[in-house]
């Protein structure tokens, strides 16, 4: 049995003002797993992702990375090296002037030299079919291009797991296909939050849903042998 990359144990979260969002949530993501997370608007999916990343502090419960409990901001810096979050809005994620600088931002923070960071950034851009975008100005890209570049910024950290928050929002069908193809090819664990069932069917193998303030495993539309329906692992 493989060891979970991260897990949540008995997480409670209450927003200031008093409404419970999550109650007794347990979840884990193991290496290589591709998991879908569905649920209504406001059911607490994004909150859960932010708790995983340490952007929100749970009212009770533990966040584990590998076998260690994450408590302080410093702990979460470790976790963020291993787990990459793709934000809902690409504009929030791309804050550097040019594409190459944005993709190299993570590696530079991890202590790579400018040359190494540039190499990694170029490699990741090439992997996503974005060669030639290096010197493009981030805010002038189209919505779909911004999405792919923000994925590149996350992949440049060379994470073991990806957490994607509604990745297909605002994407046209062809861009959605392209993103699904890319995600199927990637050899990292994934937790994908989305309302787009067709996309989830292609990319993920297991489904969890978020309702009544907790996470439930679904006996779902997905195949039970743990592989996504139409892509090879």
């Amino acid at each position: 049995m493989s060891f979970p990359i991260f897990s949540l144990r008995d997480i409670n979260f209450v927003y200031p003002g008093g409404n419970d969002v999550l109650k007794g949530v347990n979840f884990e993501l193991k290496a290589g797993e591709k998991v879908a997370l569905t649920g209504h608007n406001g059911s607490g999916k994004t909150t859960m992702l932010h708790i995983i990343m340490g952007l929100l502090k749970p009212t009770a419960g533990q966040v584990m990375f590998k076998d260690r409990e994450m408590k302080t901001e410093k702990d979460f810096r470790e976790l963020r090296k291993g787990v990459g979050l793709l934000f809902q809005q690409a504009d929030d994620q791309l804050f550097c002037p040019t594409v190459i600088e944005d993709v190299a931002f993570g590696p530079l923070n991890l202590g790579k030299s400018p040359d190494e960071a540039r190499e990694i950034a170029k490699y990741v851009l090439c992997l996503l079919g974005l060669s030639g975008y290096e010197e493009r100005v981030a805010y002038r890209l189209s919505g779909g291009e911004k999405k792919l570049v923000s994925l590149a910024t996350v992949l440049a950290m060379q994470p073991e797991a990806l957490v994607l928050d509604e990745p297909t929002n605002d994407l046209d069908p062809s861009m959605r296909d392209r993103l699904a193809d890319i995600l199927c090819e990637l050899d990292v664990a994934m937790l994908v939050v989305s309302h787009d069932l067709n996309f989830l069917k292609r990319v993920t193998a297991l489904e969890y849903s978020c309702h009544d303030q907790a996470i439930y495993k679904e006996a779902s539309i997905f195949r039970s042998d743990g592989t996504p329906s139409d892509c090879k692992l």
């Binding site: 932010h50 990343m53 340490g54 952007l55 810096r77 963020r80 090296k81 990459g84 979050l85 934000f87 809005q89 504009d91 929030d92 994620q93 804050f95 550097c96 002037p97 040019t98 190459i100 600088e101 190299a104 931002f105 993570g106 530079l108 923070n109 991890l110 400018p114 960071a117 540039r118 100005v137 981030a138 805010y139 002038r140 910024t153 996350v154 950290m157």
Partner: protein, 256 residues
């Protein structure tokens, strides 16, 4: 989508080819001294130096005139008041107000030095893309916070503009027509308020995105620029100009 236009960026000249950091330093040095001069002769020197910069940067005439037109739009107002505001030798009177030589010279000094500084700064700074200027600022060790503020402002001013446009369109769709009425002012106040709230939220999320990618407070940069002979030449020429302007100012060289 509307873009911030950069009409002077594409061009070929010694200035276009030089080190962004050197250009930032030269622009700082020149505009600081240029803004502080008080005598007519020094102001003329600032203007001439500005012209020389503009000529050597081979700026496109039309865009340059347009830019100067905006600057001088403000200065026109100064000419309405300043000549009458200083005591001295009377030149002419309009009703109870008397224009003096000192007043006219004062207005001329402001006009000359502001045009000179705008010419120089346009030649030095507007000739590079803004992201390069940010990198240039970092390369000459200007305070990290200042560079970051500058780059983030540039990055997000467009997003804010788009957000404001979106809200305004939403209002228009529901029959909003700006008039001189309380309703109009209230609507604009709401729009501005919402823009502020949204900017705040966005700043939060951008900060989170930075944390997720390992940001710990230091902004690393990919750019490294090589310093060439031309860069030192630019710095030397700027220093000579600045020196000459200061000398003219200090020794009170008479023009008339």
């Amino acid at each position: 989508m509307q873009h911030i236009s950069e009409p002077f960026v594409s061009g070929e000249s010694l200035i276009h080819a030089s080190h962004p950091g050197f250009r930032v330093v030269c622009a700082l040095l020149f505009s600081l001294v240029g803004a502080l001069v008080l005598t007519l002769s020094a102001a003329i020197a600032v203007f001439i130096a500005g012209l020389i910069f503009a000529i050597s940067a081979r700026l496109p005439m039309l865009s340059l005139l347009k830019r100067l037109f905006f600057v001088n739009g403000f200065i026109v107002f100064l000419w309405l008041f300043l000549p009458f505001s200083r005591p001295g030798d009377p030149v002419f009177s309009v009703g109870p107000f008397t224009a003096t030589t000192e007043g006219i010279i004062y207005a001329a000094v402001i006009t000359l030095k502001s045009n000179g500084v705008v010419l120089a700064v346009t030649s030095l700074l507007s000739t590079m893309p803004i992201q390069l200027m940010g990198a240039g600022m970092q390369s000459v060790r200007l305070p990290d916070k200042l560079c970051r503020l500058f780059l983030f402002t540039w990055r997000y001013v467009h997003v804010m503009g788009e957000e404001f446009g979106k809200m305004k369109r939403a209002a228009t769709m529901r029959g909003f027509v700006p008039r001189n009425s309380i309703m109009t002012y209230r609507t604009y106040a709401w729009l501005m308020g919402m823009l502020l709230v949204r900017s705040w939220d966005r700043a939060q999320v951008v900060w989170q995105a930075m944390l997720c990618r390992g940001f710990t407070g230091k902004f690393h940069t990919l750019n490294s620029f090589r310093v060439k002979g031309g860069d030192w030449l630019l710095l030397a020429v700027t220093t000579i100009f600045v020196g000459a302007i200061i000398a003219t100012e200090l020794f009170k060289v008479e023009v008339f």
